[in-house]
Symmetry: C2
Subunit: 314 residues, 2 copies
């Protein structure tokens, strides 16, 4: 049993991680500004601090005495990051610097970080390995995560922090706050007759259930012991947006929905339309996602449709 | 003839670039906070603004109406960046964000950026190509330059900025403000009998004369037309620190100097001891450094020894 801080612990992936850490008997503290996260996602068994990662003193206080920090907090809305060009810089890069600096000042040595396939930018249609280069992200979100990876690597070398960096595939599941499944479920709740899809529907990416993401993060954390451990956290293959639309419609119990496409190969500027990731590096240590991409989408659609149906605000 | 802004134009590489741009008939403005740069390096023909890149309003004013921005300003002292962990974040990452944001607001479209081999981190002993990965820098300086590359790539994709990113080898020559040659020349001026060298002397890297760096930057700028153009700016091979010490001693006209080594394979924490860079990508467009690494060291040592001898403050 150890003491863990989860930043963004009231958010989508964070809430799954917190539940899992508590179930394993760890002592868990959550740090979240509730800009995207929800207070009700944080179980009573976890200590909760509502504060901003840009407040270095608050971060120092929160990391003090922790065995490990799981740093998941970030702006997860890529499109929003484009409209306010310093959002990812502040909530991603500067926030991560503060986490690292607070750890350095308080002597906290282990950091698990949520990075993203967006660091790869727009690439050839191959299964990307962790050593793919050059890294030319096309979104400010991807740029910020790349900046964080570099900062973490430098802090590891200079100040003895040990790090596990995971480049996540698209993560789906209950408690999602954004993404295609969430958007489709909300749109269908408002109008069960039609569904407008951004892009031409051929965008295709690997989807991973949040429970699998949590599982992979913890597996790598206990099985990889380098100073900096960098892994894709993904499944093989992928699922197209058109398939996702079909699955969400099915899971919503609807039929005869008129699905239309806004057109263009991207959902939005900064969207990478085709992504495949090679999960071999983490697989070599013995880990594999329980669900393939399209299974993950279906299970997530089921959970999200139910949550959206129950929610008054969505 | 065009209008160019050079950030860090009073600094080491900047001063060489400004002289060259003026010689080619361009209209040149210099933006420098004079933290490392020197006012006397800026020719009278260049417009000069002393200001901080963290002052976004000042940056906006400076970029307004420019055809291109050459963004060279940064903390160039890697070891200092370790002792003050937010120095490279502020003077590198945030300053570069401001340059990009100012360009976006004022509609300036062309950016030439000084990156570094330090983004590669500690790598196998191979000639590194631009597509080498993973990029795990071991210095905060390298981390910041990697962050800047990502920001530039994202701004290029989202806001139509066109960029030329050069990963510099070690740059040497007159007006240097740091580096082995400069340090050795200063030490020998103080005590011509002995020279202490950081590390064991086997550290070996490619050295490029500032004049060659300027030449390569301008060559790529006029010969590469992608949205983001990423190049190593380097020569083949490299020179060891022990060789540099020998050359500086010779160029200082000294003999019988007792050279001692502090030991250890690195000069300092964050120093990458062995670097080789593959210059083939820029070479394929037709550019090659005029001087090889050891020639560059000798010519630079000659110039730096003369400057140090003349200076009262060094």
């Amino acid at each position: 049993m150890s003491r863990c801080l989860v930043t963004g612990g009231a958010g989508f992936i964070g809430s799954h991680l917190v539940a899992r850490l508590l179930a394993e008997g760890h002592s868990v503290a959550v740090f979240d500004d509730l800009s995207l996260g929800r207070r009700e996602h944080v179980p009573a068994a976890a200590r909760f601090t509502q504060a901003d990662l840009l407040d270095l003193e608050a971060v120092e206080k929160a990391v003090d005495g922790q065995d490990a920090v799981f740093h998941l907090a970030a702006n997860s809305d890529i499109d929003f990051g484009r409209r306010q060009s310093d959002r990812d810089l502040r909530q991603g890069t500067l926030a991560t610097y503060n986490v690292l600096e607070a750890m350095r000042r308080r002597g906290v040595k282990k950091l698990v970080f949520a990075s993203t396939s967006a660091v790869y930018g727009e690439t050839p249609a191959i299964a990307l390995r962790e050593d793919y280069g050059p890294l030319l992200p096309i979104s400010l979100y991807g740029a910020s995560k790349l900046a964080c990876e570099g900062l973490i690597s430098a802090f590891a070398h200079n100040y003895g922090v040990q790090a596990w960096i995971y480049r996540f595939a698209n993560v789906v599941g209950a408690n999602a706050t954004h993404g295609a499944i969430f958007d489709f479920a909300r749109k269908l709740k408002k109008d069960p007759k039609r569904l407008e899809v951004l892009g031409d529907g051929t965008q295709s990416k690997p989807y991973l259930l949040a429970s699998d993401v949590v599982d992979g993060m913890l597996f790598g954390f206990s099985h990889a012991g380098d100073a900096v451990n960098l892994f894709n956290l993904a499944c093989e293959g992928g699922t197209s947006v058109a398939e996702i639309a079909r699955i969400v419609v099915e899971e919503a119990g609807l039929s005869g929905v008129a699905v239309s496409y806004s057109g263009g190969k991207r959902g939005w500027v900064g969207d990478v339309p085709f992504v495949r990731m090679d999960p071999a590096k983490l697989a070599a240590l013995g880990w594999k996602a329980r669900h393939d991409s399209t299974e993950a989408v279906r299970l997530a659609a089921r959970a999200v449709v139910a949550q959206v149906a129950q929610s008054a605000s969505l």
